[in-house]
C-alpha cells in the first residue's frame, strides 16, 4: 500500500483536494451553466423550460442590471486607486526604520482581517446624519453636515471610504514586500549621479515596482468587484439602488425575487467579467518597457 502511494504520489496526494473541489466547485459550475439556460423561478415557475440564451440577453434590457455594472466599476476603480495611493505612501513609510515599527505595523494590519460586517456597524454609526461622529466633526468646524449614505450622491463615496479603510493595509503589505525586494545598486548609482529623492522614486522605484503594483491591483480589484458584506450591511443597495453592484444584484435576483435562471446567467456573466478584468490588468505586467 505504502509503495503504491509512493509510486503515484501526485495522484494520491491530490485525491482529497480534487474530490472536495469537484463537489463544491466543479459540479456547481455545471449546475449553474445548466440553470442559466432555463426560466426557472422557485415558486412562480417550478417546472423549468429550456429558453436558450434568453437569460443572457434579457438582463441587458434591465436598467437596474446595466446601472449595477456601472456602480461596480465606479466602486472598484475608486476604492482601488485610493488604496494604491495610500498603500504606496504607507509602504514607503513602513520601509524606513523607526521606533515601534513592528507594533505600528500590526495595528495597521487590523482593518484587513477584522470582520467586515462588524466594521460596517461602526461605520453605520459614523455616517448617521443627525447623531454620527462625522457630521459632528464637520459641523464643529463650521461646514454643512452631509447626508452620507442617505443622499444618492454621497452614498457610493461613503462606501468607497469604507472600502479604502478596510483594504488599504493589504495593499501596503504587498507593496512593502516589493520595496524590500528592490536591488540596492540602481539607487547607489543614482545617488552618485546626484539624483534627488523624488527623481529616484519616480524613475527607479516605481518602474522596478511595476510587477508588485500590478499584482496588488489585480488582487484588490477582484476583491473590490466582489465586495458584498459592507455594501449590504451599510446601504443595503439603497438609496434607490444607487449602490447596487453586480454582486448584490445577483443576490437579490436569486434569493429575494427567486429568478434562479436569470440569476445563474448573471452569475456566469459576472465570472467572465472578473476573468477579463484580470487578464486585462495582467497584460500590463508582461509588457516590457524600456528606458
Amino acid at each position: 500500500m505504502k509503495e503504491l502511494i509512493g509510486r503515484n504520489i501526485t495522484l494520491f496526494f491530490n485525491l482529497p483536494t480534487v474530490f472536495f473541489l469537484f463537489s463544491i466547485v466543479g459540479l456547481p459550475v455545471f449546475v449553474v451553466i445548466a440553470t442559466s439556460f432555463t426560466d426557472w423561478q422557485l415558486i412562480n415557475k417550478p417546472d423549468a423550460d429550456f429558453v436558450w440564451l434568453e437569460n443572457y440577453i434579457k438582463p441587458w434590457q434591465d436598467e437596474r442590471w446595466v446601472n449595477a455594472i456601472g456602480h461596480t466599476f465606479y466602486y472598484s476603480i475608486a476604492t482601488v486607486l485610493g488604496q494604491l495611493l495610500i498603500g504606496l505612501l504607507t509602504a514607503l513609510l513602513f520601509n524606513r526604520n523607526f521606533a515601534g515599527k513592528a507594533f505600528y505595523r500590526s495595528i495597521w494590519m487590523m482593518p484587513m482581517i477584522s470582520m467586515s460586517v462588524a466594521i460596517s456597524l461602526v461605520w453605520l454609526l459614523f455616517f448617521d446624519p443627525p447623531y454620527g461622529v462625522l457630521n459632528f466633526w464637520i459641523t464643529s468646524i463650521g461646514l454643512e453636515p452631509l447626508e452620507w449614505t442617505i443622499d444618492p450622491v454621497s452614498a457610493m463615496p461613503s462606501l468607497i471610504l469604507v472600502g479604502i479603510w478596510h483594504h488599504t493595509p493589504f495593499m501596503t503589505l504587498i507593496l512593502l514586500s516589493g520595496l524590500q525586494s528592490l536591488p540596492k545598486e540602481p539607487f547607489e548609482a543614482a545617488r552618485i549621479d546626484g539624483a534627488k529623492r523624488w527623481q529616484m522614486f519616480l524613475y527607479i522605484t516605481l518602474p522596478l515596482m511595476r510587477g508588485h503594483i500590478i499584482i496588488a491591483l489585480v488582487l484588490r480589484s477582484v476583491f473590490a468587484v466582489k465586495e458584498f458584506d459592507t455594501i449590504i450591511a451599510i446601504t443595503d443597495a439603497g438609496p434607490n439602488w444607487v449602490t447596487e453592484t453586480m454582486n448584490l444584484n445577483i443576490y437579490f435576483n436569486a434569493f429575494e425575487y427567486q429568478y434562479l435562471g436569470e440569476a445563474s446567467a448573471k452569475g456566469v456573466i459576472f465570472f467572465f467579467m472578473l476573468i477579463i478584468i484580470q487578464v486585462f490588468l495582467l497584460h500590463f505586467r508582461k509588457r516590457e518597457w524600456t528606458y
Partner: protein
C-alpha cells in the same frame, strides 16, 4: 533634511528624526485605528448618550455586553462559527499541504491553474447552484453543508500559500532522505511536514480568519437554523434590533479575538499573506 543633518548636533538630529517619524506614523495609523477605539468605547456607552456625539467621557458600563448575551443569538452562533471554521480550516490545510507539495515539487502546472481558477470563482456564482444542490440532498441549514461550502475559501487559499512555503524548503533535504532509504511518503512526513509547520500554522490562522469573517455563504446556506457569528452581528444593522451600545458590543466581541491573534503572530501573518500574492 540633509541640510539639518549637516548643521545640527548629532543627538539633536536623531531626536528630531525620531519625533518626526512618530508624528508621521501616528498621523497615518491613528485615523485607521480610531474606528476600533470608537467601537470599543461606544460599547461601554449608555444608549441615550448616542444622541450626544459631543460627549466623549462618561461612566463606562458593561451592561451592553450582558444584553448582547441575553437578547441575541450571538453566543450560540459563535459556537457554530467555531465548529464550521475549525473543521473547514483543518480540512483546508490538510488538502492544501498535500496539493501544495505536489505543485511545488512535481510542477503540476495544470492543477495549479485549476486551483487558481477556483480561487477566482465569485461566491455568488457558486452559491446559487450550491443552494439548489443542498436543497435536493437536504444539506441546507446544516453544519456539514456550511463546512463544505467554506472549503471554497480554505482549500484554494491553503494551497496557494503553502506552495510558497514549501518552495522555500531546500530540495536537498528531501533528496538526502531518499538516499538514506526513506520512501517518498516517509520523506514527506519526516522532512516536509516538520519543516513546514510554521508556515502551516500561519496558513491555518489565515484560513480560520477568512472563514470566520465570511458572511455570504452562511447567510444563504444556513437559513434560520445554523447561522454564524457574522450573520448574528449583521442582525444589528437593523436600527430596531437594539441600541448602538449593543451593536458595538457585538462588533467588539467578534473583533477582539482576531486582534490578539494578529498582535501575537503579526510577522508570520504578513509573510503568509504576501508570499502567496507575489509568487504567482
Amino acid at each position: 533634511m540633509d541640510l539639518l543633518k549637516k548643521y545640527l548636533p548629532r543627538n539633536l538630529f536623531r531626536f528630531l528624526e525620531f519625533i518626526l517619524a512618530q508624528i508621521l506614523v501616528l498621523l497615518v495609523v491613528v485615523p485607521f485605528f480610531f474606528i476600533f477605539f470608537y467601537m470599543f468605547w461606544n460599547s461601554l456607552k449608555p444608549d441615550y448618550l448616542f444622541f450626544e456625539p459631543e460627549t466623549w467621557f462618561f461612566e463606562p458600563m458593561w451592561s451592553n455586553y450582558t444584553d448582547v448575551f441575553e437578547y441575541s443569538d450571538l453566543l450560540s452562533n459563535v459556537y457554530n462559527s467555531l465548529i464550521i471554521s475549525g473543521f473547514a480550516t483543518i480540512i483546508g490545510i490538510i488538502c492544501g499541504l498535500l496539493t501544495a507539495y505536489t505543485i511545488a515539487r512535481y510542477e503540476m502546472k495544470k492543477l495549479a491553474l485549476t486551483i487558481l481558477f477556483t480561487k477566482q470563482l465569485p461566491f455568488i456564482t457558486a452559491i446559487i447552484p450550491l443552494w439548489l444542490m443542498y436543497k435536493n440532498i437536504g444539506l441546507l441549514n446544516s453544519h456539514l453543508g456550511i463546512i463544505l461550502a467554506h472549503l471554497v475559501i480554505t482549500i484554494p487559499f491553503g494551497v496557494w500559500i503553502m506552495v510558497g512555503f514549501i518552495e522555500d524548503i531546500p530540495k536537498e533535504l528531501e533528496e538526502s532522505a531518499w538516499i538514506d532509504g526513506a520512501s517518498r511518503t516517509q520523506a514527506f512526513w519526516k522532512v516536509i511536514v516538520p519543516l513546514s509547520t510554521p508556515g502551516l500554522v500561519a496558513t491555518a490562522i489565515l484560513c480560520f480568519i477568512f472563514s470566520w469573517n465570511n458572511f455570504m455563504l452562511a447567510l444563504v446556506l444556513g437559513g434560520f437554523d445554523v447561522s454564524t457569528a457574522p450573520v448574528s452581528v449583521y442582525k444589528y444593522a437593523d436600527p430596531e434590533a437594539g441600541g448602538s451600545g449593543q451593536m458595538m458590543a457585538a462588533a467588539t466581541l467578534v473583533t477582539i479575538p482576531v486582534f490578539f491573534i494578529v498582535l501575537m503572530i503579526q510577522k508570520q501573518l504578513a509573510s503568509g499573506l504576501t508570499v502567496g500574492a507575489v509568487k504567482q
